[in-house]
């Protein structure tokens, strides 16, 4: 039977997830192999070198850089406090002395008699890395971090904003084509990850932020509303570092699009569970999609511990979603995968699939289809 590879997003009832949690530079790892961790547990910490301050001593004292050592009252490696004397000229007969005082508390890192400036470094900045997901430490990366293995249900979105977050999952709609409105959000959702159906309006999302909802998972969002939230037009889909109270995970795309049945049902099944989410998205080579990780209790782990069926690509009989106009968002069944290239209305020659949507047949480029997995 003919089949075609098409990228699909993961919507898995069970998977053994591995997460690398690493420090930006080397430091101290506080968990060992086999340790059980919760999402909030700190697994490693370190100190980032403090900010650097450059002090133009020669300029400030109006002396030649080469003479800097004659006026300095500190040497490399010294610790100074804000306001401490750094350098002082002799003045005239002991009068009219000029001096330079330290603008920060820190250490003297280097002194240059070429440029006449000294480099000072502020106190180190402590950094901690938490576990992000509940699980078992399966590996320790010496001085850098750990790998956490978690048995979980796992869902990828198509696009998100905001970084890592966590909270109890709460489905606020009755079905997958219902929108999250302003009225469906209330103060009881603070600290939670709320799930909606097809769409969230800008007003409703703003209310979620205001009420300190920790995350929103929804089918669609308007592209042009992002500007209002982010303060700039999102030109390239590289996100995750935005400072947002409420991470947003869009599962289907821009516009009003009902959430896929499989995604909605899986989220509904775990309504009330404590989950970890991350809105970080990078659409480049080595794509990163936003995610929802739902750690499973022992009794929820299937006996047959096999990951859900891998995406084998589109075949005759596959359930697919169209991901580009003119049939964007429609769901249908593949009835044929002709091998010859076909001419579209745009005159583009492409490989196509015949898709039955509501008992009518359409010819659609294969690259405009996305596989929908069913159980």
């Amino acid at each position: 039977m003919a089949h075609a590879y098409t990228p699909g997003l993961k919507v898995l009832h069970y998977t053994k997830l591995k997460k690398n949690r690493r420090l930006p530079i080397k430091g101290e790892v506080s968990k060992g192999k086999g340790d059980k961790v919760n999402a909030d547990d700190v697994i490693a910490k370190t100190d980032l070198p403090g900010n650097v301050n450059m002090l133009k001593v020669a300029n400030l004292l109006n002396i030649s850089p080469a003479d800097i050592h004659d006026v300095l009252e500190v040497k490399e490696g010294d610790t100074v406090n804000k306001g401490d004397m750094i350098a002082q000229t002799d003045g005239l007969f002991g009068f009219f002395k000029s001096d330079v005082r330290s603008p920060i508390s820190g250490t003297i890192e280097s002194i240059s008699d070429v440029t006449g400036q000294i480099v000072m470094r502020e106190a180190p900045i402590p950094v901690e890395v938490d576990a992000y997901v509940e699980g078992i430490v399966s590996d320790v990366i010496k001085d850098e971090g750990v790998t956490i293995e978690s048995e979980a249900a796992y869902i990828q979105g198509i696009f998100g904003i905001g970084g890592e977050s966590r909270g109890d999952l709460h489905v606020v709609v009755n079905n997958r084509d219902e929108e999250i409105t302003k009225d469906s959000i209330n103060s009881s959702h603070a600290g939670k990850i709320i799930v909606g159906g097809s769409f969230i309006s800008l007003d409703a999302y703003k209310k979620a932020i205001e009420l300190k909802v920790r995350g929103v998972v929804v089918g669609g969002f308007n592209y042009f509303d992002l500007e209002d939230i982010l303060g700039y037009t999102l030109g390239v889909a590289i996100t995750g570092t935005e400072d947002l109270v409420t991470s947003l995970i869009v599962t289907e795309g821009y516009g009003n699009i009902k959430m896929s049945e499989r995604t909605f049902n899986l989220l509904k099944k775990h309504d009330g569970k404590f989950v970890s989410v991350n809105g970080a998205t990078q659409i480049r080579a080595g794509v990163i999609r936003p995610e929802i990780v739902i750690p499973l209790d022992a009794d929820q782990i299937p006996d047959n511990k096999k990951d859900d069926r891998e995406n084998l690509g589109i075949q005759e009989g596959s359930l697919v979603r169209v991901i580009r106009a003119p049939y964007f968002g429609k769901i249908g069944e593949v009835t044929d995968l002709p091998s010859e290239l076909q001419k579209m209305e745009s005159e583009t020659m492409v490989r196509v699939a015949t898709v039955k949507i509501n008992s009518e047949s359409f010819t659609i480029p294969r690259s405009n289809l996305e596989m929908l997995e069913t159980d």
Partner: protein, 602 residues
């Protein structure tokens, strides 16, 4: 030595493309091509896997055995293998550099030119006068994690302290390379020679320091070659060594692996030099648009990092503004609906336009991406700044300053387009029209597209250094470039000047290849197309009053012009092209221009 078979690959960030060139019946021709996904990332993490897959496709198509024991056979032993194997690469994000100079518009710009010319992406320019505080610069250097840094500043024998100050900032940042934690970051110093000792002292232990000749030895001269060569060497020695599988790939190739844009640039430079013409080349991709130009013998390259047709399509929208995109769309569409559609293309970058409406939108965005990239290129491709020019009394009335753009559209001989939206447009007329609308060539300009984007492979082929292959590989690159790579679209003829609606802006007398003589009149704001294949047409072009076709206002020219798959395109529109603001008139103008070229199906 005649090369019978040449294999060349280009490892792109998503696809690895292989071409086979063979010497048949006394000429070099492209015979096969194959492609496969690039395998730099997990689960393969070995670039050679993708190379072998792409080459296997060529093996299947050509019936020639090229691979043995998972390795390319080179040199050939008669019926198997190839005489020479070469490759370019932009996988893993290509070469990412940061440059530093004392004065941003002087040494900073020269350093940027050297880095771009070598095929790198310039992540940032740190300069003493860039308006940032030292700690902000330090944070930036730390956050960006470049593959390499080029430090310049000061003329030879000039002030030392400024450039040493920059080195101190670098030292304080203690930058770490992007790939691999175990090696030191390569830093090239190409500044004031008097400061070399202090630079060594400041940076020596911390980084892998290389010192080359000053990029700006005197104010009036730019000396980019030593820095560019050093960047290429270090790219091979350090960056490539860290990328998965490259050590193996390097051991297979008969010439150093070049960064993809560096190879394209060197090919364009070579063509311009060999044929003594001015050239603009563009490669519009999913994430970036590269523009190369040679004017007045000077080569320039720019990368518009976030102007592309898929990953960064929304940024084109953000930078050009929705109205600028919409002015090219020949139907009405709800603005919110349009932005959602474009957003969806960004998050699902592999989709293709099925409906004509979608194609219109995509090609409208492409026009803006190209226009903006070319604008950036014109601003960058300038003469050296900071130079005192000798002025005569007649110059005193002109407001000319140093640092003027080298790009002069009236001088442009050849415009070459490549990248999916240009190379794979359903009709060649669409590629020609997109190039004209966005680059707005003036006078007489030939248009072409790269058929399958093989300029990178030909670029590296043209620069094989091995003595025994050198001349032949250069010859092969040029022959294949003309015969198989370039698709000649035709020539755009545009008179420039002030005219009124209804004016005749040009009269042309054309002696066609079959001997027929044709008179053609061009009216302001009209487009006329004459279908002629790629053969010379003797043309006498008589511009209207005040109009210039290359020899000055009202001056006629007699020249040979060439047709192509589209033919001769007489473009009577203003420069810049003015599109009526009245919605109905706009639609009428767009439709009339399109139908003159038979651009879209009726």
């Amino acid at each position: 030595m005649t090369l019978k078979t040449i294999l060349a690959t280009d490892c792109g960030s998503t696809t690895t493309k292989a071409i086979l060139i063979e010497y048949l019946n006394g000429e070099y021709r492209l015979t096969q091509r194959g492609e496969a996904p690039t395998t730099v990332e997990a689960p393969f993490e070995d670039v050679t896997r993708g190379v072998l897959n792409a080459v296997m496709e060529i093996e299947e198509l050509s019936g020639r055995t090229i691979i043995e024991d998972d390795q390319v056979i080179s040199p050939s032993n008669g019926t198997t293998g190839v005489d020479i194997y070469i490759s370019t690469s932009s996988a893993g994000g290509g070469l990412q550099m940061m440059v530093a100079g004392v004065v941003k518009t002087m040494s900073g710009e020269s350093a940027e030119r050297a880095a771009l010319g070598a095929g790198s992406i310039v992540m940032d320019i740190i300069a003493s006068n860039d308006g940032r505080l030292p700690h902000e610069k330090i944070k930036r250097i730390r956050d960006l994690r470049p593959d390499m840094i080029l430090l310049s500043g000061g003329i030879d024998g000039g002030t030392v302290s400024h450039v040493v100050e920059l080195a101190e900032i670098l030292a304080a940042a203690n930058p770490q390379p992007r790939l691999g934690q175990e090696y030191k970051l390569p830093v090239i110093y190409a500044g004031n020679n008097k400061a070399q000792d202090q630079i060594r002292e400041t940076l020596g232990d911390m980084v892998d320091l290389d010192i080359v000749d000053n990029i700006r030895p005197v104010l009036e001269k730019e000396n980019l070659e030593p820095s560019r060569d050093k960047i290429h060497d270090l790219f091979m020695e350090h960056v490539m060594q860290q990328a998965p599988g490259y050590k193996k790939l390097m051991s297979w190739t008969d010439a150093p692996i070049m960064p993809t844009p560096g190879a394209v640039g060197s090919l364009i430079e070579m063509i311009a030099e060999k044929e003594d013409i001015t050239v603009v080349g563009v490669d519009i991709g999913g994430a970036t648009t590269d523009i190369f130009s040679v004017f007045q013998g000077k080569f320039n390259r720019t990368v518009s990092a976030n102007l592309g047709m898929s990953y960064s399509i929304c940024n084109v929208l953000a930078e050009s503004g929705l109205d600028n995109v919409l002015r090219w769309v020949p139907f009405d569409i709800d603005r919110k609906e349009l932005t959602n559609r474009i957003g969806n293309k960004m998050i699902r970058p592999t989709t293709v336009p099925q409906s004509l409406e979608e194609l219109f939108i995509e090609q409208s965005i492409a026009r803006e991406a190209l226009r903006l990239s070319f604008k950036q290129h014109k601003e960058f491709a300038v003469g050296l700044k900071g130079i005192q020019k000798e002025r005569t009394i007649s110059d005193a009335f002109e407001q000319s300053t140093s640092g003027e753009s080298l790009v002069n559209m009236m001088d442009l001989d050849l415009l070459v387009g490549s990248g999916g939206v240009l190379s794979h447009a359903p009709r060649r007329e669409q590629s020609a029209k997109m190039l004209i609308d966005s680059f707005m060539p003036e006078g007489v300009t030939q248009l072409a597209v790269d058929s399958i984007f093989m300029m990178p492979q030909l670029g590296v082929l043209a620069h094989v250094d091995k003595e025994e292959f050198k001349d032949e590989s250069r010859k092969a690159a040029l022959e294949v470039f003309h015969k198989d790579c370039l698709i000649r679209l035709g020539t755009c003829i545009n008179p420039v000047g002030r005219s009124k609606p209804g004016d005749i802006v040009l009269n042309a007398e054309l002696t066609m290849p079959d001997g027929r003589i044709l008179e053609q009149e061009l009216i302001k704001d009209k487009i006329v197309r004459i279908e002629v294949p790629y053969e010379p047409v003797k043309a006498i072009l008589r511009p209207g009053k005040n109009m210039d076709i290359g020899a000055g206002p009202g001056q006629e020219i007699a020249t040979d012009i060439y047709g192509g798959t589209v033919g001769l395109i007489f473009d009577g529109r203003d420069r810049p092209i003015s599109i009526p603001s009245d919605p109905l008139k706009r639609l009428e103008a767009l439709r009339s221009w399109s139908s003159a070229l038979n651009e879209y199906p009726e």
